[in-house]
Protein backbone atom coordinates (compact mmCIF):
# COMPACT_ATOMS: atom_id res chain seq x y z
CA UNK A 1 0.00 0.00 0.00
CA UNK A 2 1.27 3.46 -0.90
CA UNK A 3 0.05 6.46 1.07
CA UNK A 4 0.68 9.81 -0.51
CA UNK A 5 0.19 12.47 2.14
CA UNK A 6 -0.29 16.10 1.24
CA UNK A 7 2.49 15.97 -1.34
CA UNK A 8 3.59 19.25 -2.96
CA UNK A 9 6.36 20.34 -5.29
CA UNK A 10 7.30 23.95 -5.92
CA UNK A 11 9.83 25.35 -8.33
CA UNK A 12 10.42 28.90 -7.18
CA UNK A 13 7.00 30.50 -7.00
CA UNK A 14 5.24 27.93 -9.23
CA UNK A 15 3.50 25.01 -7.59
CA UNK A 16 3.50 22.04 -9.98
CA UNK A 17 2.04 19.50 -7.55
CA UNK A 18 -0.31 20.95 -4.97
CA UNK A 19 -1.22 19.06 -1.80
CA UNK A 20 -1.99 15.67 -3.32
CA UNK A 21 -3.18 12.93 -0.96
CA UNK A 22 -4.19 9.45 -2.05
CA UNK A 23 -4.03 5.87 -0.87
CA UNK A 24 -3.01 3.34 -3.50
CA UNK A 25 -4.15 -0.19 -2.70
CA UNK A 26 -1.79 -3.10 -2.79
CA UNK A 27 -2.06 -5.35 -5.88
CA UNK A 28 -4.00 -2.76 -7.86
CA UNK A 29 -3.40 -0.62 -10.91
CA UNK A 30 -3.82 3.11 -10.42
CA UNK A 31 -3.79 5.29 -13.51
CA UNK A 32 -3.02 9.00 -13.38
CA UNK A 33 -4.49 11.13 -16.17
CA UNK A 34 -4.55 14.87 -16.80
CA UNK A 35 -3.60 17.49 -19.34
CA UNK A 36 -0.01 18.08 -20.30
CA UNK A 37 1.86 19.92 -17.57
CA UNK A 38 -0.66 19.00 -14.86
CA UNK A 39 2.07 17.46 -12.71
CA UNK A 40 1.54 13.73 -13.39
CA UNK A 41 5.20 12.89 -13.96
CA UNK A 42 6.29 15.05 -11.06
CA UNK A 43 3.88 13.23 -8.74
CA UNK A 44 5.09 9.84 -9.98
CA UNK A 45 8.75 10.78 -9.59
CA UNK A 46 8.24 11.97 -6.06
CA UNK A 47 7.13 8.43 -5.17
CA UNK A 48 10.60 7.04 -5.98
CA UNK A 49 12.28 10.32 -5.03
CA UNK A 50 13.78 11.08 -8.41
CA UNK A 51 12.26 14.41 -7.35
CA UNK A 52 12.34 15.42 -3.69
CA UNK A 53 8.99 16.82 -2.50
CA UNK A 54 8.80 20.36 -1.17
CA UNK A 55 6.16 19.28 1.36
CA UNK A 56 4.37 16.13 2.38
CA UNK A 57 5.53 12.52 2.40
CA UNK A 58 5.06 9.11 0.85
CA UNK A 59 4.64 5.94 2.91
CA UNK A 60 5.08 2.49 1.41
CA UNK A 61 3.51 -0.21 3.59
CA UNK A 62 3.53 2.26 6.44
CA UNK A 63 7.20 3.23 6.18
CA UNK A 64 8.18 6.80 5.40
CA UNK A 65 10.29 6.65 2.23
CA UNK A 66 12.42 9.62 3.26
CA UNK A 67 13.98 7.35 5.88
CA UNK A 68 16.41 5.65 3.49
CA UNK A 69 18.91 6.80 0.83
CA UNK A 70 17.03 7.54 -2.40
CA UNK A 71 19.06 5.14 -4.59
CA UNK A 72 18.38 2.24 -2.24
CA UNK A 73 14.66 3.05 -2.23
CA UNK A 74 14.65 3.04 -6.04
CA UNK A 75 16.07 -0.47 -6.20
CA UNK A 76 12.86 -1.65 -4.51
CA UNK A 77 10.59 0.25 -6.93
CA UNK A 78 10.33 -0.61 -10.62
CA UNK A 79 10.43 2.34 -13.02
CA UNK A 80 9.49 2.42 -16.70
CA UNK A 81 9.57 5.53 -18.88
CA UNK A 82 8.40 6.37 -22.37
CA UNK A 83 11.04 5.41 -24.90
CA UNK A 84 12.25 2.73 -22.44
CA UNK A 85 15.72 4.25 -21.70
CA UNK A 86 17.53 0.95 -22.24
CA UNK A 87 21.32 1.05 -21.90
CA UNK A 88 22.53 0.98 -25.52
CA UNK A 89 25.91 -0.55 -24.67
CA UNK A 90 24.46 -3.49 -22.79
CA UNK A 91 22.74 -6.61 -24.06
CA UNK A 92 19.10 -7.38 -23.37
CA UNK A 93 20.13 -9.84 -20.65
CA UNK A 94 22.51 -7.32 -19.06
CA UNK A 95 19.84 -4.62 -19.17
CA UNK A 96 17.36 -6.88 -17.41
CA UNK A 97 20.00 -7.86 -14.84
CA UNK A 98 20.70 -4.22 -13.86
CA UNK A 99 18.89 -4.04 -10.52
CA UNK A 100 19.67 -7.62 -9.39
CA UNK A 101 23.37 -6.79 -10.00
CA UNK A 102 23.05 -3.59 -7.98
CA UNK A 103 21.48 -5.64 -5.22
CA UNK A 104 24.34 -8.13 -5.35
CA UNK A 105 22.37 -11.24 -6.29
CA UNK A 106 24.55 -14.23 -7.17
CA UNK A 107 25.06 -15.02 -10.85
CA UNK A 108 22.97 -18.20 -10.89
CA UNK A 109 19.97 -16.41 -9.41
CA UNK A 110 20.37 -13.52 -11.85
CA UNK A 111 20.56 -15.89 -14.80
CA UNK A 112 17.46 -17.78 -13.69
CA UNK A 113 15.52 -14.54 -13.23
CA UNK A 114 16.56 -13.18 -16.63
CA UNK A 115 15.50 -16.43 -18.29
CA UNK A 116 12.17 -16.37 -16.50
CA UNK A 117 11.47 -12.78 -17.57
CA UNK A 118 12.49 -13.39 -21.18
CA UNK A 119 9.97 -16.24 -21.23
CA UNK A 120 7.24 -14.15 -19.58
CA UNK A 121 7.75 -11.40 -22.17
CA UNK A 122 7.88 -13.84 -25.07
CA UNK A 123 11.42 -12.96 -26.02
CA UNK A 124 13.21 -16.02 -27.29
CA UNK A 125 16.25 -16.61 -25.09
CA UNK A 126 18.55 -17.69 -27.91
CA UNK A 127 17.66 -14.85 -30.24
CA UNK A 128 17.37 -11.95 -27.82
CA UNK A 129 19.36 -12.48 -24.60
CA UNK A 130 22.58 -11.46 -26.33
CA UNK A 131 21.05 -8.85 -28.63
CA UNK A 132 21.62 -5.12 -28.16
CA UNK A 133 18.68 -2.71 -27.78
CA UNK A 134 19.17 -1.14 -31.20
CA UNK A 135 18.62 -4.56 -32.76
CA UNK A 136 15.06 -4.81 -31.37
CA UNK A 137 11.74 -3.42 -32.60
CA UNK A 138 10.04 -0.66 -30.60
CA UNK A 139 7.61 -3.13 -29.07
CA UNK A 140 10.40 -5.48 -28.04
CA UNK A 141 12.44 -2.64 -26.54
CA UNK A 142 9.42 -1.61 -24.54
CA UNK A 143 8.96 -5.17 -23.23
CA UNK A 144 12.62 -5.32 -22.21
CA UNK A 145 12.12 -1.99 -20.40
CA UNK A 146 9.26 -3.48 -18.38
CA UNK A 147 11.18 -6.73 -17.79
CA UNK A 148 14.15 -4.72 -16.50
CA UNK A 149 11.90 -2.82 -14.10
CA UNK A 150 10.43 -6.07 -12.76
CA UNK A 151 13.74 -7.95 -12.48
CA UNK A 152 14.26 -7.59 -8.74
CA UNK A 153 10.63 -8.47 -8.00
CA UNK A 154 9.62 -5.01 -6.80
CA UNK A 155 6.33 -4.73 -4.95
CA UNK A 156 5.71 -1.39 -6.65
CA UNK A 157 6.03 -0.50 -10.34
CA UNK A 158 5.89 3.11 -11.57
CA UNK A 159 5.25 3.66 -15.28
CA UNK A 160 5.35 7.04 -17.05
CA UNK A 161 3.56 6.81 -20.41
CA UNK A 162 5.10 3.38 -20.94
CA UNK A 163 3.19 2.61 -24.13
CA UNK A 164 3.14 6.14 -25.58
CA UNK A 165 5.44 5.34 -28.49
CA UNK A 166 3.75 2.10 -29.62
CA UNK A 167 1.30 1.61 -32.48
CA UNK A 168 -2.31 0.70 -31.49
CA UNK A 169 -1.99 -3.05 -32.07
CA UNK A 170 1.29 -3.47 -30.20
CA UNK A 171 -0.02 -1.15 -27.52
CA UNK A 172 -3.13 -3.29 -26.95
CA UNK A 173 -0.87 -6.33 -26.69
CA UNK A 174 1.41 -4.54 -24.20
CA UNK A 175 -1.63 -3.61 -22.10
CA UNK A 176 -2.83 -7.23 -22.04
CA UNK A 177 0.67 -8.35 -21.05
CA UNK A 178 0.73 -5.81 -18.25
CA UNK A 179 -2.61 -7.05 -16.87
CA UNK A 180 -1.26 -10.62 -17.00
CA UNK A 181 1.92 -9.64 -15.22
CA UNK A 182 0.06 -7.69 -12.59
CA UNK A 183 -2.00 -10.79 -11.84
CA UNK A 184 1.00 -13.09 -11.93
CA UNK A 185 3.35 -11.09 -9.68
CA UNK A 186 0.74 -9.14 -7.70
CA UNK A 187 2.63 -5.90 -8.33
CA UNK A 188 1.15 -2.58 -7.26
CA UNK A 189 1.26 -0.44 -10.38
CA UNK A 190 0.99 3.33 -10.76
CA UNK A 191 0.79 4.35 -14.40
CA UNK A 192 0.66 7.78 -16.08
CA UNK A 193 -1.03 8.08 -19.46
CA UNK A 194 -2.63 10.57 -21.85
CA UNK A 195 -4.84 7.89 -23.33
CA UNK A 196 -8.27 7.66 -21.66
CA UNK A 197 -9.02 4.30 -23.28
CA UNK A 198 -5.84 2.96 -21.70
CA UNK A 199 -6.81 4.45 -18.34
CA UNK A 200 -10.23 2.79 -18.41
CA UNK A 201 -8.86 -0.47 -19.67
CA UNK A 202 -6.09 -0.83 -17.08
CA UNK A 203 -7.11 1.19 -14.06
CA UNK A 204 -8.69 -0.27 -10.95
CA UNK A 205 -8.60 3.35 -9.85
CA UNK A 206 -8.14 6.48 -11.93
CA UNK A 207 -6.72 9.78 -10.62
CA UNK A 208 -7.53 12.93 -12.58
CA UNK A 209 -5.09 15.82 -12.20
CA UNK A 210 -5.30 19.43 -13.31
CA UNK A 211 -2.86 22.25 -12.54
CA UNK A 212 -1.06 20.19 -9.94
CA UNK A 213 -4.18 19.26 -8.02
CA UNK A 214 -5.89 15.92 -7.70
CA UNK A 215 -9.50 16.55 -8.81
CA UNK A 216 -10.88 13.05 -8.35
CA UNK A 217 -9.55 9.64 -7.45
CA UNK A 218 -12.06 6.83 -7.81
CA UNK A 219 -13.07 3.65 -9.58
CA UNK A 220 -13.46 4.31 -13.33
CA UNK A 221 -17.25 3.76 -13.28
CA UNK A 222 -17.66 6.35 -10.52
CA UNK A 223 -15.64 8.86 -12.54
CA UNK A 224 -18.23 8.43 -15.31
CA UNK A 225 -21.38 8.35 -13.22
CA UNK A 226 -20.41 10.85 -10.51
CA UNK A 227 -17.75 13.23 -11.83
CA UNK A 228 -16.54 15.53 -9.06
CA UNK A 229 -15.81 18.41 -11.41
CA UNK A 230 -16.77 19.49 -14.96
CA UNK A 231 -13.11 19.03 -15.88
CA UNK A 232 -13.36 15.34 -14.95
CA UNK A 233 -16.33 14.85 -17.32
CA UNK A 234 -14.46 16.62 -20.09
CA UNK A 235 -11.40 14.49 -19.45
CA UNK A 236 -13.32 11.20 -19.45
CA UNK A 237 -15.35 12.28 -22.48
CA UNK A 238 -19.04 13.16 -22.50
CA UNK A 239 -20.04 11.95 -25.96
CA UNK A 240 -19.20 8.27 -25.45
CA UNK A 241 -19.53 7.94 -21.69
CA UNK A 242 -22.36 5.39 -21.96
CA UNK A 243 -20.17 3.15 -24.11
CA UNK A 244 -17.25 3.64 -21.71
CA UNK A 245 -19.45 2.52 -18.87
CA UNK A 246 -20.47 -0.60 -20.79
CA UNK A 247 -16.83 -1.37 -21.46
CA UNK A 248 -16.17 -1.57 -17.71
CA UNK A 249 -18.48 -4.54 -17.12
CA UNK A 250 -17.91 -8.05 -18.48
CA UNK A 251 -20.60 -10.27 -19.93
CA UNK A 252 -19.94 -12.79 -17.15
CA UNK A 253 -20.67 -10.19 -14.47
CA UNK A 254 -23.90 -9.05 -16.12
CA UNK A 255 -25.22 -12.40 -17.35
CA UNK A 256 -28.81 -13.28 -16.40
CA UNK A 257 -29.74 -16.83 -15.48
CA UNK A 258 -31.32 -18.66 -18.40
CA UNK A 259 -30.56 -19.72 -21.95
CA UNK A 260 -30.56 -18.02 -25.32
CA UNK A 261 -30.41 -19.35 -28.86
CA UNK A 262 -28.55 -16.20 -29.94
CA UNK A 263 -24.82 -16.04 -30.76
CA UNK A 264 -22.35 -17.23 -28.11
CA UNK A 265 -20.12 -14.60 -26.45
CA UNK A 266 -17.23 -15.04 -24.03
CA UNK A 267 -17.84 -14.27 -20.36
CA UNK A 268 -14.66 -12.16 -20.42
CA UNK A 269 -15.97 -9.90 -23.23
CA UNK A 270 -17.11 -6.42 -22.19
CA UNK A 271 -20.76 -5.41 -22.54
CA UNK A 272 -19.65 -2.91 -25.17
CA UNK A 273 -18.24 -5.75 -27.26
CA UNK A 274 -21.36 -7.88 -26.74
CA UNK A 275 -23.64 -5.01 -27.77
CA UNK A 276 -21.58 -4.42 -30.88
CA UNK A 277 -21.72 -8.12 -31.72
CA UNK A 278 -25.50 -8.23 -31.32
CA UNK A 279 -26.01 -5.13 -33.50
CA UNK A 280 -23.75 -6.60 -36.13
CA UNK A 281 -25.57 -9.92 -36.15
CA UNK A 282 -29.07 -8.39 -35.89
CA UNK A 283 -29.75 -10.60 -32.85
CA UNK A 284 -31.72 -9.70 -29.71
CA UNK A 285 -29.88 -11.86 -27.20
CA UNK A 286 -26.59 -13.72 -26.70
CA UNK A 287 -25.52 -16.85 -24.81
CA UNK A 288 -22.68 -16.14 -22.38
CA UNK A 289 -20.08 -18.91 -22.28
CA UNK A 290 -17.17 -19.49 -19.93
CA UNK A 291 -13.73 -20.18 -21.32
CA UNK A 292 -14.23 -23.92 -20.74
CA UNK A 293 -17.43 -23.92 -22.81
CA UNK A 294 -19.99 -24.09 -20.01
CA UNK A 295 -23.02 -21.81 -20.18
CA UNK A 296 -22.97 -18.90 -17.77
CA UNK A 297 -26.37 -17.40 -18.72
CA UNK A 298 -27.64 -14.95 -21.31
CA UNK A 299 -27.84 -11.25 -22.14
CA UNK A 300 -30.40 -9.20 -24.06
CA UNK A 301 -29.89 -5.82 -25.75
CA UNK A 302 -32.36 -4.29 -23.31
CA UNK A 303 -30.44 -5.70 -20.33
CA UNK A 304 -27.20 -4.30 -21.71
CA UNK A 305 -28.69 -0.86 -22.37
CA UNK A 306 -29.91 -0.82 -18.79
CA UNK A 307 -26.27 -0.97 -17.69
CA UNK A 308 -25.26 2.00 -19.84
CA UNK A 309 -27.13 4.44 -17.61
CA UNK A 310 -25.79 6.08 -14.45
CA UNK A 311 -27.23 5.03 -11.09
Amino acid sequence: MISVENLSKQYGATTVVDGVSMVIERNSITVIVGTSGSGKSTLLRMINRLIEPTRGRVLIDGNDTTGEPAHLLRRRIGYVIQGHGLFPHRTVAENIATVPRLLGWDEARIRARVEELLAVFQLDQGAYAGAFPHQLSGGQQQRVGVARALAAEPAVLLMDEPFGALDPIIRAKAQDDLLDIQRRFGTTIVLVTHDMDEAFRLGDHVAVMSHGRLLQYDRPAVLLTHPADPFVSRMTGVSDRAMRLLSLTTAGEAALPGVSDGPAVAASASLREVLSELLWRGAESAAVMDADGTRRGYLTIAAILERGRPG
Binding site: H71, I81, H84, R148, A149
Partner: protein, 246 residues
Protein backbone atom coordinates in the same frame (compact mmCIF):
# COMPACT_ATOMS: atom_id res chain seq x y z
CA UNK B 1 37.95 1.20 -50.71
CA UNK B 2 39.50 -0.65 -47.74
CA UNK B 3 41.88 -2.39 -50.13
CA UNK B 4 43.55 0.82 -51.26
CA UNK B 5 43.64 2.18 -47.71
CA UNK B 6 45.34 -0.99 -46.47
CA UNK B 7 47.96 -0.83 -49.23
CA UNK B 8 48.71 2.84 -48.54
CA UNK B 9 48.91 2.17 -44.82
CA UNK B 10 51.30 -0.71 -45.36
CA UNK B 11 53.41 1.29 -47.81
CA UNK B 12 53.73 4.21 -45.37
CA UNK B 13 54.72 1.90 -42.53
CA UNK B 14 57.24 0.05 -44.71
CA UNK B 15 58.75 3.33 -45.88
CA UNK B 16 59.07 4.66 -42.34
CA UNK B 17 60.65 1.48 -40.98
CA UNK B 18 63.01 1.15 -43.92
CA UNK B 19 64.18 4.72 -43.48
CA UNK B 20 64.64 4.45 -39.72
CA UNK B 21 66.45 1.09 -39.88
CA UNK B 22 68.58 1.61 -43.03
CA UNK B 23 68.82 5.35 -43.55
CA UNK B 24 72.02 5.10 -45.60
CA UNK B 25 70.27 3.22 -48.40
CA UNK B 26 68.24 6.38 -49.05
CA UNK B 27 71.41 8.50 -49.51
CA UNK B 28 71.20 8.73 -53.33
CA UNK B 29 67.66 10.14 -53.05
CA UNK B 30 68.67 12.96 -50.71
CA UNK B 31 72.09 13.71 -52.28
CA UNK B 32 70.72 16.29 -54.79
CA UNK B 33 69.49 18.42 -51.86
CA UNK B 34 72.95 18.88 -50.37
CA UNK B 35 75.75 21.21 -51.38
CA UNK B 36 79.54 21.12 -51.14
CA UNK B 37 79.64 17.40 -50.28
CA UNK B 38 77.63 17.71 -47.05
CA UNK B 39 76.24 14.37 -45.73
CA UNK B 40 72.87 13.56 -47.41
CA UNK B 41 71.61 11.55 -44.39
CA UNK B 42 71.49 12.78 -40.79
CA UNK B 43 74.66 11.51 -39.16
CA UNK B 44 74.77 13.15 -35.73
CA UNK B 45 72.64 10.50 -34.02
CA UNK B 46 70.62 7.33 -34.55
CA UNK B 47 67.33 8.20 -36.32
CA UNK B 48 65.49 5.24 -34.80
CA UNK B 49 66.49 6.24 -31.26
CA UNK B 50 65.38 9.80 -31.91
CA UNK B 51 62.03 8.68 -33.35
CA UNK B 52 61.35 6.44 -30.35
CA UNK B 53 62.33 9.18 -27.89
CA UNK B 54 60.04 11.57 -29.78
CA UNK B 55 57.12 9.13 -29.61
CA UNK B 56 57.75 8.42 -25.93
CA UNK B 57 57.69 12.11 -25.09
CA UNK B 58 54.41 12.64 -26.92
CA UNK B 59 52.76 9.60 -25.33
CA UNK B 60 53.79 10.63 -21.81
CA UNK B 61 52.38 14.11 -22.37
CA UNK B 62 49.16 12.64 -23.82
CA UNK B 63 48.73 10.33 -20.83
CA UNK B 64 49.03 13.28 -18.46
CA UNK B 65 46.69 15.43 -20.59
CA UNK B 66 44.13 12.61 -20.67
CA UNK B 67 44.10 12.12 -16.92
CA UNK B 68 43.74 15.82 -16.22
CA UNK B 69 41.33 16.68 -19.06
CA UNK B 70 38.99 13.71 -18.50
CA UNK B 71 39.08 14.21 -14.73
CA UNK B 72 38.32 17.89 -15.09
CA UNK B 73 35.62 17.15 -17.69
CA UNK B 74 33.91 14.78 -15.26
CA UNK B 75 34.07 17.27 -12.37
CA UNK B 76 32.59 20.19 -14.29
CA UNK B 77 29.72 18.13 -15.71
CA UNK B 78 28.55 17.09 -12.22
CA UNK B 79 25.90 19.35 -10.64
CA UNK B 80 28.30 20.21 -7.81
CA UNK B 81 31.12 21.16 -10.19
CA UNK B 82 29.12 22.98 -12.85
CA UNK B 83 30.15 26.37 -11.44
CA UNK B 84 33.78 25.60 -12.40
CA UNK B 85 33.01 24.96 -16.06
CA UNK B 86 33.70 28.52 -17.33
CA UNK B 87 36.93 28.79 -15.32
CA UNK B 88 38.20 25.38 -16.45
CA UNK B 89 37.33 26.14 -20.03
CA UNK B 90 39.30 29.37 -19.87
CA UNK B 91 42.34 27.68 -18.38
CA UNK B 92 42.32 24.87 -20.92
CA UNK B 93 41.91 27.38 -23.74
CA UNK B 94 44.89 29.34 -22.49
CA UNK B 95 46.88 26.08 -22.60
CA UNK B 96 46.04 25.81 -26.29
CA UNK B 97 46.45 29.48 -27.29
CA UNK B 98 49.66 30.13 -25.36
CA UNK B 99 52.33 29.15 -27.92
CA UNK B 100 54.32 26.05 -26.86
CA UNK B 101 57.53 27.94 -27.58
CA UNK B 102 56.50 30.56 -25.05
CA UNK B 103 55.73 27.80 -22.55
CA UNK B 104 59.27 26.53 -23.04
CA UNK B 105 60.66 30.00 -22.47
CA UNK B 106 58.74 30.30 -19.22
CA UNK B 107 59.42 26.82 -17.88
CA UNK B 108 63.11 26.37 -18.68
CA UNK B 109 64.19 28.80 -15.96
CA UNK B 110 62.00 26.89 -13.51
CA UNK B 111 62.71 23.24 -14.33
CA UNK B 112 65.87 23.44 -16.47
CA UNK B 113 66.63 22.16 -19.96
CA UNK B 114 65.66 18.73 -21.33
CA UNK B 115 62.48 16.65 -21.36
CA UNK B 116 60.66 18.39 -18.51
CA UNK B 117 59.84 21.75 -20.12
CA UNK B 118 58.85 19.97 -23.33
CA UNK B 119 56.50 17.63 -21.46
CA UNK B 120 54.88 20.61 -19.77
CA UNK B 121 54.41 22.43 -23.08
CA UNK B 122 52.93 19.38 -24.81
CA UNK B 123 50.72 18.60 -21.83
CA UNK B 124 49.20 22.09 -21.85
CA UNK B 125 48.84 22.12 -25.63
CA UNK B 126 47.08 18.73 -25.73
CA UNK B 127 44.45 19.38 -23.05
CA UNK B 128 41.86 21.19 -25.15
CA UNK B 129 40.66 18.50 -27.58
CA UNK B 130 40.36 15.89 -24.83
CA UNK B 131 38.64 18.28 -22.44
CA UNK B 132 36.11 19.56 -24.97
CA UNK B 133 35.28 16.10 -26.28
CA UNK B 134 34.83 14.75 -22.76
CA UNK B 135 32.42 17.56 -21.92
CA UNK B 136 30.41 17.23 -25.11
CA UNK B 137 30.20 13.46 -24.67
CA UNK B 138 29.06 13.67 -21.06
CA UNK B 139 26.59 16.48 -21.75
CA UNK B 140 24.95 14.69 -24.67
CA UNK B 141 24.27 11.33 -22.99
CA UNK B 142 20.61 10.54 -23.83
CA UNK B 143 18.54 11.97 -20.94
CA UNK B 144 16.19 8.97 -20.92
CA UNK B 145 19.10 6.61 -20.41
CA UNK B 146 20.36 8.72 -17.50
CA UNK B 147 16.88 8.89 -15.99
CA UNK B 148 16.55 5.13 -16.30
CA UNK B 149 19.94 4.63 -14.62
CA UNK B 150 18.93 6.78 -11.66
CA UNK B 151 15.45 5.27 -11.64
CA UNK B 152 16.95 1.76 -11.39
CA UNK B 153 18.77 2.83 -8.24
CA UNK B 154 22.31 3.51 -9.42
CA UNK B 155 24.22 5.92 -7.21
CA UNK B 156 25.77 8.94 -8.94
CA UNK B 157 29.14 7.17 -9.01
CA UNK B 158 27.70 3.91 -10.40
CA UNK B 159 25.86 5.86 -13.07
CA UNK B 160 29.04 7.67 -14.08
CA UNK B 161 31.19 4.55 -14.23
CA UNK B 162 28.79 2.08 -15.79
CA UNK B 163 26.67 4.30 -18.05
CA UNK B 164 28.05 7.79 -18.71
CA UNK B 165 31.73 7.02 -19.26
CA UNK B 166 31.15 3.93 -21.45
CA UNK B 167 28.76 5.96 -23.62
CA UNK B 168 31.24 8.87 -23.74
CA UNK B 169 34.19 6.65 -24.63
CA UNK B 170 34.15 7.05 -28.44
CA UNK B 171 34.31 10.85 -28.27
CA UNK B 172 36.93 10.83 -25.52
CA UNK B 173 39.12 8.50 -27.57
CA UNK B 174 38.73 10.80 -30.54
CA UNK B 175 39.93 13.71 -28.41
CA UNK B 176 42.98 11.75 -27.28
CA UNK B 177 43.77 10.89 -30.88
CA UNK B 178 43.60 14.54 -31.98
CA UNK B 179 45.75 15.58 -29.05
CA UNK B 180 48.40 12.95 -29.83
CA UNK B 181 48.61 13.80 -33.49
CA UNK B 182 48.84 17.55 -32.92
CA UNK B 183 51.64 16.97 -30.45
CA UNK B 184 53.69 14.70 -32.71
CA UNK B 185 54.30 17.79 -34.81
CA UNK B 186 54.56 20.20 -31.90
CA UNK B 187 57.12 18.05 -30.08
CA UNK B 188 59.81 18.98 -32.63
CA UNK B 189 60.26 22.29 -30.78
CA UNK B 190 61.47 20.33 -27.74
CA UNK B 191 64.84 20.04 -29.40
CA UNK B 192 65.38 23.77 -28.87
CA UNK B 193 65.64 23.02 -25.16
CA UNK B 194 67.66 19.82 -25.55
CA UNK B 195 64.86 17.26 -25.31
CA UNK B 196 65.68 14.21 -27.41
CA UNK B 197 63.47 14.05 -30.50
CA UNK B 198 63.17 14.46 -34.23
CA UNK B 199 63.40 18.24 -33.90
CA UNK B 200 67.17 17.69 -33.59
CA UNK B 201 67.33 16.59 -37.21
CA UNK B 202 65.47 19.67 -38.43
CA UNK B 203 67.52 22.05 -36.27
CA UNK B 204 70.76 20.46 -37.45
CA UNK B 205 69.58 21.04 -41.00
CA UNK B 206 68.75 24.67 -40.31
CA UNK B 207 72.12 25.32 -38.60
CA UNK B 208 74.22 23.71 -41.32
CA UNK B 209 71.97 24.87 -44.14
CA UNK B 210 71.35 21.23 -45.10
CA UNK B 211 67.92 20.88 -46.78
CA UNK B 212 68.19 17.07 -46.78
CA UNK B 213 68.22 17.00 -42.95
CA UNK B 214 65.23 19.34 -42.73
CA UNK B 215 63.27 17.22 -45.16
CA UNK B 216 64.16 13.99 -43.33
CA UNK B 217 63.05 15.36 -39.96
CA UNK B 218 59.82 16.62 -41.45
CA UNK B 219 59.07 13.42 -43.36
CA UNK B 220 59.63 11.09 -40.42
CA UNK B 221 57.51 13.27 -38.14
CA UNK B 222 54.74 13.50 -40.73
CA UNK B 223 54.70 9.78 -41.45
CA UNK B 224 54.58 9.01 -37.74
CA UNK B 225 51.64 11.39 -37.27
CA UNK B 226 49.70 9.86 -40.16
CA UNK B 227 50.33 6.29 -39.06
CA UNK B 228 49.48 7.03 -35.45
CA UNK B 229 46.26 8.78 -36.45
CA UNK B 230 45.29 5.85 -38.59
CA UNK B 231 46.19 3.21 -35.99
CA UNK B 232 44.29 5.00 -33.23
CA UNK B 233 41.24 5.45 -35.44
CA UNK B 234 41.27 1.70 -36.07
CA UNK B 235 41.67 0.96 -32.38
CA UNK B 236 38.78 3.30 -31.60
CA UNK B 237 36.51 1.57 -34.11
CA UNK B 238 37.38 -1.78 -32.63
CA UNK B 239 36.74 -0.69 -29.05
CA UNK B 240 33.44 0.87 -30.02
CA UNK B 241 32.38 -2.16 -31.98
CA UNK B 242 33.08 -4.60 -29.17
CA UNK B 243 31.30 -2.26 -26.75
CA UNK B 244 28.42 -1.68 -29.25
CA UNK B 245 28.65 2.07 -29.00
CA UNK B 246 28.04 3.10 -32.59
Amino acid sequence: MPGVAAILRFAALALLLAFLLMPQSFAPLFAPLTQYGAPPIYDQGNLLTLALAHLGLVCCAAAASTIVAVGLGIVVTRPSGAQFLPLSRTLVNIGQTFPPVAVLAVTVPLVGFGEKPTLIALFAYGLLPIFENTIVALQTCPPQVLEAASGMGMSARQRLLSVELPLALPLILEGIRLSLVINIGTATIGSTVAAKGLGEVIIAGLLSNNNAFILQGGLVTGLMAILLYDALAGLERRICRTAHLE
